[in-house]
Amino acid sequence: MPRTILDPKILRSLVPALSFAVLLGAIFYVQPRTMSYFGLNLMLNLALPIAFATIAQMFILTVNDLDLSIGSFVSLVACITATWLNEAPLLGVVALLGCIAAYAALGALIHLRNLPSIVVTLGMSFVWSGCAILLLPSPGGSAPDWLSGLVKFRMPFIPFSILASLILGLIVHFALMRSATGAVLRGSGGNPQAVERAGWSLLKTKVTMYALAGFFGVMSGMILVGTTTSADANIALRYTLFSIAGVILGGGEFTGGRVSPIGAILGALTLALVGSLLSFLRISPEWQIGAQGIILIVVLALRSLVNRLEERQA
């Protein structure tokens, strides 16, 4: 069979991009002012930290786990960034490295004791939140100048958030989907036993994936503070659900190590656009929340359309 663009397999991998494009088109139609450098930048710069958090979640999902704590973790990182990293950079850096190490340790714990990740991360979400509240009892702090400078950096022609998402997507794609080590890491989600039988250490893969998740969580929190310029203990709680939804929207699955970094980032951006479209539609406030659900469903229906197509051809 010739592989055309209508080949469902290819089409399927294009679905996240398609959903994103459809949504963007709808927004351009409703509010033409968004069709500009300024507009895109405004719409997407808050999606960038979500994209990082989504990538963090994706690493966890790759090894068949689920992270219910990423939102509170990013909040904690944001608090650390807006306080320690700003006032005592050395302490801040050590704390952030400690956060990554804590994530790696969680991975080891989950593997060694064969624990359900959901419960462990649920528990950890309280721990992160508690630390954040202790660190920053009421909202405040401020971003280190270099950080807000970096995030606010006005690239010519292409908004920073888009460029950064693109680079992020490509780096993670090459590292996880194209590299030799990436194959082992994904394989340990697909069939852990086989990976072990081939002589690899599952402990190492799990620790690596959790450490990566921690790293991208830290990046997410820092970029978030760079954008908002200050932090609070509840600032990113939403990211937990957003990141899971983003990975799934991007074509990832809960089990079996089937994920797509580029898809996940597109998923995160799509979720951000859902909110924008909503603002532009001028819906009465009591229906705004529901409309968000409806838009999500419409976007997701696209997936099922492609799935159907795939089935028919199978």
Binding site: L42, G141, D232, N234, A236, G275, S276, F280, E286, Q288
Partner: protein, 316 residues
């Protein structure tokens, strides 16, 4: 005054999940519908985010900038985390007026309630009722938020003023009735007899039910202007002369935000910081307070253009 009939105003709200916010939105819709009809402004949309989160609201603000509003009236999820977005709005020439939960960004106007005073007043009241003082139970709000911290700071200040009081125990109520009820119930077995319960608004009825369920005498609970609280208070008052007071910021303050924004657009010289008093109901005013409170809602007061102008001129 300059003509504002071609101006577009918008409300940005971060949470719609409780009766206070619902009343706030409703007041906005009613007052602005009339203003639009009267040709005062061209439009006054209300926007609310799906979830209570600073990042979502910041995104909402940025979208509003793109929509080209002339003024944004803002009830903020965080006093600082929206500053970036607010600054961008100001830079785009948009008037930003924040109320209730205000923002610290300097380019925005603030219609603030003195939350700290709300805390101090509670202790002052209790000091009058119980000159000998005694232990208290404090119900906190959502941890990590500024309103929670400010009211708490006020309560601490009050206790400094009246050292005969002490906080026996502090529980977390999340500003949610059911959560407050559960937290209070969980602390009761180990709680000494307290003279009063200091609250942040909306938790009073839950606390009262928890005390009743445990078969303990209900101490003086400071109420938060919710109709179930006032109703319970009235029942108790009629039955055994129960005394307390109730205070809250009126949800209708959103309309004040609207009129202040309109005045700014009209060219009025408005100071950046305005104070709005809380709505306080005392023992004698209970019946009148109940009248101002819709069934199942919050005691409300909507503001007019004149009241806004008065507030502005008194602040100068």
């Amino acid at each position: 005054d300059a003509d504002t009939s071609d101006k577009n105003v918008a409300l940005s709200n971060n949470y719609a999940g409780n009766s206070w916010r619902q009343a706030m939105i409703k007041s906005w819709q009613e007052a602005t519908a009339k203003a639009v009809e009267d040709g005062v402004v061209a439009s006054a949309d209300a926007n609310t985010t799906a979830e209570n989160s600073a990042t979502e609201q910041a995104a909402q603000l940025q979208n509003m900038i793109l929509q080209g509003y002339d003024a944004i009236v803002l009830n903020a999820a965080s006093p600082t985390a929206l500053n970036g977005a607010v600054k961008e709005a100001c830079d785009a020439g948009i008037t930003v007026v924040s109320f209730d939960a205000t923002v610290t960004e300097e380019c925005a106007w603030r219609i603030a309630v003195d939350f700290k005073k709300m805390g101090v007043d509670q202790i002052d009241y209790l000091a009058e009722r119980y000159p000998d003082g005694g232990p208290l139970l404090e119900i906190r709000g959502l941890p990590g938020t500024s309103v929670d911290e400010q009211i708490h700071a006020g309560i601490l200040e009050g206790i400094e003023k009246h050292p005969q009081f002490e906080i026996a125990r502090e529980v977390q109520g999340d500003w949610t009735q059911t959560v407050a009820q559960k937290s209070v119930a969980s602390v009761l077995p180990s709680l000494p007899d307290v003279v009063g319960v200091v609250t942040q608004g909306g938790d009073g009825y839950g606390a009262a039910r928890a005390f009743e369920a445990a078969g303990r005498e209900v101490p003086t609970i400071i109420m938060g202007n919710r109709s179930d609280e006032l109703q319970w208070w009235k029942e108790q008052k009629d039955e055994n002369g129960y005394e307390t007071f109730s205070q809250s910021i009126a949800p209708g303050v959103s309309t004040l935000g609207f009129w202040v924004a309109q005045q700014i657009l009209a060219g009025a010289d408005v100071p950046k910081d305005l104070q709005v008093p809380t709505l306080r109901i005392d023992q004698d005013g209970l019946d009148q307070g109940l009248e101002m409170t819709p069934e199942g809602g919050v005691t409300n007061k909507e503001y007019t253009r004149e009241e806004a102008q008065e507030l502005i001129s008194s602040a100068k």
